[in-house]
Amino acid sequence: MSLGGSMSGKEKMNQEQSGGASASAESLTGEHMSEASGSTLGSDIQAKIGQHLRAMYDDVVRQGVPDRFLDLLAKLDQPKAGDGPDGEGGRS
């Protein structure tokens, strides 16, 4: 909610970052797949789900970085007058 709405989400982001540390203790004891690999589902179907999911995802990943994003980053990285607000502007 906070990040989507405005730039004021910095603190929230930092909170979230630090939240991960405390959670990791649980993973050491928890069995990730305990429920998912239960007896109700065939393991072949579960394997197929994993394969299909990664195949779809990786197909997008393999497309690399579209030019529009490289152009955008180049623009963002260009110091010029009018870039002022973030403190590093002022060069022209």
Partner: protein, 184 residues
């Protein structure tokens, strides 16, 4: 002279393909996904000082993207979801020609999952995040993520098992009825 730490900039660029794949799985549309990624990059660079070097940059970016999607999703809730098969539209290669139909079935089944379950499944099952990282990104408990992933897998398993039965059994109408019954 670059305004940004070049290393950080390169890391962000390296994360873009994964961000796109995640965004497509969330939004169901390539165009909306790319808009989401663009907005995410703008936010990320605008808030770059809030990123702590040494922490998980991809997770930070995924969090921004997910939050953007969530706020947009709330606004668009009433709109008919774009179900033109975003993943299929992006497919350039079929991973296995013999399983094309399987693949279509899978994509449709994935579309039927509630957004919470789908995003949890994608984060853990495709993006390669740990349950803990996924919980961070979704701002919920690790147990909640595990439960969502398990429910997603179970639901997909049910849907795909029905499709399998369809291969040697009931005709399409019967299958549709069975699937519809499942959804109640």
């Amino acid at each position: 002279m670059s305004k940004f730490d070049p290393g950080l900039r390169d890391e962000i660029i390296a994360a873009i393909p994964n961000l796109r794949a995640f965004a497509i799985s969330l939004s169901g549309s390539v165009d909306r996904a790319d808009d989401l990624v663009q907005e995410t990059l703008l936010r990320a660079f605008g808030n770059i000082s809030s990123f702590r070097p040494g922490t998980n940059l991809p997770a930070w970016l995924f969090t921004i993207l997910r939050n953007l999607f969530r706020s947009e999703y709330r606004k668009r809730r009433r709109e008919v979801p774009d179900s033109d098969g975003a993943f299929a539209a992006t497919l350039t290669t079929n991973p296995d020609q013999n399983t094309h139909l399987d693949f279509e079935d899978f994509r449709m089944a994935l579309d039927k999952l509630p957004p919470d379950q789908r995003e949890a499944l994608v984060l853990v099952g495709a993006s390669g995040f740990s349950y803990e990282e996924a919980a961070d990104i979704c701002q919920c408990a690790v147990g909640t993520i595990k439960s969502r992933v398990n429910r997603a897998r179970r639901r997909l398993g049910e849907l795909l098992a029905i499709e399998d039965i369809g291969d040697f059994g009931p005709d399409k109408t019967t299958r549709a009825v069975v699937v519809a019954g499942e959804r109640v």
